[in-house]
């Protein structure tokens, strides 16, 4: 074997379980790396299997090799630049007929390929029996069955990959009808020597007839006029075959081939309407659907509060006891202060993660995997349009309740840059898990759950208003919704856990150390009384404008690192424990503080991801927008409260 690890790319239509499959294979991984960015967005992993290293790339889902959406362009760029050694085409077996259209297009590339029939359990439930040998014969490539959510079939897949790489057999491209084939052949014959070939001559010719802008058009607009007129003629001839544009004729060819293969290889015993279908009709109902949505989201936050709040009290108790015993035994020496800082950092981290962060991530992951997020997008599309947005932005906003960072990364799937910018500017106003913690821990715990609920609704209302303002600013031109609604699935705990683990790892590795370090640092600063300087600088804002105790100024600095730090530092800065907070500040001050901390600036990670995804200008805009909203809102709270 050569010293270079063979490159294997995973390609499939969105929602075919490709990433789940990738993750269950990358469980063997030697090392994983993540390369997010607008141009190359793929996950890459070195997998060790049978003492050999494979370089596996998970590409974003694409419906076809004719790119329309930004993430689909990534797929093409990758295939043609990296020249993979093997393509693994992942198919949602329950959508076999449609998925085969992409498979046929991939076969045209004539790269070595393995087809994976994933979600076999779902296909079986639908009453589908797929004859694998028949399918292998028709496609001319090996076909493997898997159920990625349960990790079934991954070994068989790895064996198939190994074998396919060893044989390195190139499949034959599927043949279209005679009339179309003739035009493709004609074009292949006249392709100029220096024509930039994509994969092979035939594929290049097909893409030229389809009129793909990819590389082809640039060349066509070049000097070779004779070739261009010849191409135009062939395109017209193809177009005349069905009295439709050439790209449609080719697409219909693939469609028919796919249907033919589907009919030959798959038997569907008519399945009756299952309970899941009935449930689906209910939650998509134009009237009841909205009622269910309200129940689902209200229930979600109620559950988190019900679980989180007692758990938080329980988790904080031992640390509070340790803090008191340190103060009793060591007095106010430097060592005591530092130890208290340490204890509060560790305890605070625990009290945030377990009661609120994990349940929230779990529930959002659950809704995502069940397929509810797509349904919520559908139901809320009209509403979002009124706000100058798209139903497609809904999942991002919901993701934002977990953490703003992945939510902003997810804006990549929006077609227009305008939509991306507006969505990314609004996401930082979504109360993420960290801010929910502050709201629950301070507002709900100290003022009562209704106050917290009210704050939450106010927060969502504020986002709607901001959306309307931004709509005035950025001209709104909606392309209209086109969104696949996947079938409802029973989610696998494994895949939800993977999502939680991913976010949790970030917290434990990055945020918690900062939290502990920051807590100790603040203890030290207050011991040497340096925090007074920062507080003095921020005093005009903190106590002048917002009417808060001056000592809270320093907590804002930490809030920029991570929002929940402000909460912890607040106790540290005011020098009181949890229960005694309201003896030091008033309820109004508490609300003003929560509002200001929630909005005043996107946290460091959010701001940097906006910078990375959309540029410096948008990041600055986001910071300015947040700061002005925070000042206005918290000042208003102070004003309103002073009236009563």
């Amino acid at each position: 074997m050569s010293d270079r690890a063979p490159v294997i790319v995973f390609i499939g239509q969105p929602n075919c379980g490709k990433s789940t499959l990738f993750n269950s294979i990358a469980g063997y991984k030697a090392q994983t790396s993540n390369f997010p960015g607008t141009t190359v967005t793929h996950v890459h992993s070195e997998v060790l299997w049978n003492r050999k290293v494979y370089s596996i790339v998970d590409l974003p889902g694409t419906y076809s090799l004719s790119p329309h959406e930004p993430q689909e362009k990534v797929v093409l760029t990758h295939i043609f630049k990296e020249k993979p050694d093997l393509i693994v085409n992942v198919i949602d077996a329950s959508l076999l007929s449609r998925s085969l259209e992409l498979t046929l297009e991939l076969l045209e590339l004539e790269y070595p390929m393995v087809v994976v029939l994933n979600m076999m359990d779902l296909a079986r439930k639908k009453g589908m029996t797929i004859k694998v040998e028949e399918l292998e014969k028709k496609l001319g490539v090996p076909v493997v069955k898997t159920v990625a959510t349960r990790g079934l079939g991954t070994d068989v897949l790895m064996e198939a990959i190994e074998k396919a790489l060893r044989l390195s057999a190139r499949p034959d491209a599927p043949r279209f009808s005679r009339e179309v084939e003739k035009r493709i052949k004609d074009l292949m014959d006249i392709l100029p020597e220096d024509f930039p070939l994509v994969a092979n001559q035939r594929f290049t010719a097909i893409k030229a007839i389809e009129g793909e802008t990819l590389a082809v058009d640039k060349f066509i607009s070049g000097p070779d006029r004779a070739f261009k007129s010849e191409l135009d003629r062939l395109r017209q001839e193809v177009s005349a075959l069905r009295d439709a544009p050439a790209y449609e004729v080719i697409s219909v060819e693939r469609h028919h081939l796919a249907l033919k293969i589907f009919e030959d290889c798959c038997r569907v015993t008519h399945s009756k309407v299952s309970a899941i279908d009935k449930l689906d009709n209910l939650i998509m109902d134009p009237v009841l659907g909205y009622f269910f949505m309200l129940v689902i989201f209200a229930g979600m936050f109620y559950l988190i509060f019900k679980v989180g709040s007692p758990l938080e009290t329980w988790l904080l108790k031992p640390w509070e006891a340790i803090r008191l015993s340190i103060e009793n035994n060591l007095g106010h020496s430097l060592l005591a202060e530092l130890l208290v800082g340490l204890v509060q950092g560790i305890g605070g981290g625990l009290a945030i993660v377990f009661p609120y962060f994990i349940p929230l991530l779990f529930l959002i992951g659950f809704l995502e995997d069940v397929g509810y997020l797509a349904r919520a997008s559908f139901l809320l599309d009209a509403f979002m349009h009124r706000l100058g947005l798209h139903g497609k932005s809904v999942p991002m906003f919901i993701l934002g309740f977990g953490c703003n960072v992945p939510a902003i990364m997810a804006t990549r799937i929006l077609e227009s840059r305008r939509d991306r910018i507006v969505t990314a500017l609004l996401i930082p106003f979504i109360p993420c898990a960290a801010r929910t913690t502050i709201i629950l821990a301070l507002v709900a715990f100290l003022l009562g759950p209704w106050w917290a609920l009210g704050f939450y609704f106010f927060n969502i209302f504020l986002i709607a208003i901001l959306a309307l303002i931004l709509k005035k600013w950025f001209k709104y031109d909606s392309p209209g919704l086109i969104l696949e609604i996947p079938s409802l699935k029973v989610p696998s705990l494994k895949s939800i856990w993977q999502k939680i683990y991913f976010n949790l790892k970030e917290f434990v590795r990055f945020a918690w150390p900062i939290l502990i370090g920051g807590s100790i640092l603040l203890s030290f600063l207050s011991y040497v009384q340096f925090d007074r300087l920062i507080n003095a600088i921020l005093s005009p804002l903190v106590s002048g404008l917002l009417g808060l105790p001056q000592s809270l100024g320093v907590t804002l600095i930490f809030g920029f690192l991570r929002k929940e730090l402000s909460l912890l530092m607040m106790f540290q800065a005011l020098g009181v424990g949890y229960g005694q907070l309201l003896s030091v500040i008033t309820k109004t001050q508490l609300l003003t503080f929560v509002a200001f901390v929630s909005f005043f600036i996107p946290c460091l990670s959010t701001l940097s991801i906006i910078w990375k995804e959309l540029g410096k200008k948008v990041a600055m805009m986001s910071a300015a927008l947040n700061l002005s909203v925070a000042v206005v809102v918290s000042w208003l709270i102070r004003l309103v409260a002073s009236l009563f």
Partner: protein, 107 residues
């Protein structure tokens, strides 16, 4: 039951008339009653939209039904029986998909 109340409330609220397509006549997906099977005759509209729908497996000749629609002039839910998929389509887009009635044996 459910279908009835959909026809009653859903339609009226959106102010659209239900037009029964005649045998030769075409009408858009927005005008047909929910729950019945139709055949896609033609996809109008620009190249971008056209290609996108083709890629999603919506071709002329496919059998489709209107499953549901959202309130406030929201999108419609279209089921493609030929490729067994469902997509949500904004009204502007659904309007560009022209359908015709199907004959008995095509079902």
């Amino acid at each position: 039951m459910l279908r009835d109340h959909k026809a009653m409330f859903g339609r009226k609220r959106n102010g659209q008339k239900i037009v029964k397509p005649t045998l030769e006549g075409l009408c858009s997906l927005l005008e047909v009653p929910a729950g019945q099977i139709f055949k896609i005759a033609e996809i109008r509209g620009g190249q971008g939209l056209h290609r996108r729908l083709l890629a999603l497996g919506f071709h002329p000749g496919d059998l489709v039904t209107l499953d549901n629609e959202a309130i406030m002039n929201g999108p419609v839910l279209v089921r493609n029986l030929t490729s067994d998929t469902r997509i949500g389509l904004g009204r502007g887009i659904a309007q560009k998909i022209m359908v015709e009635t199907v004959t008995g044996d095509e079902r």
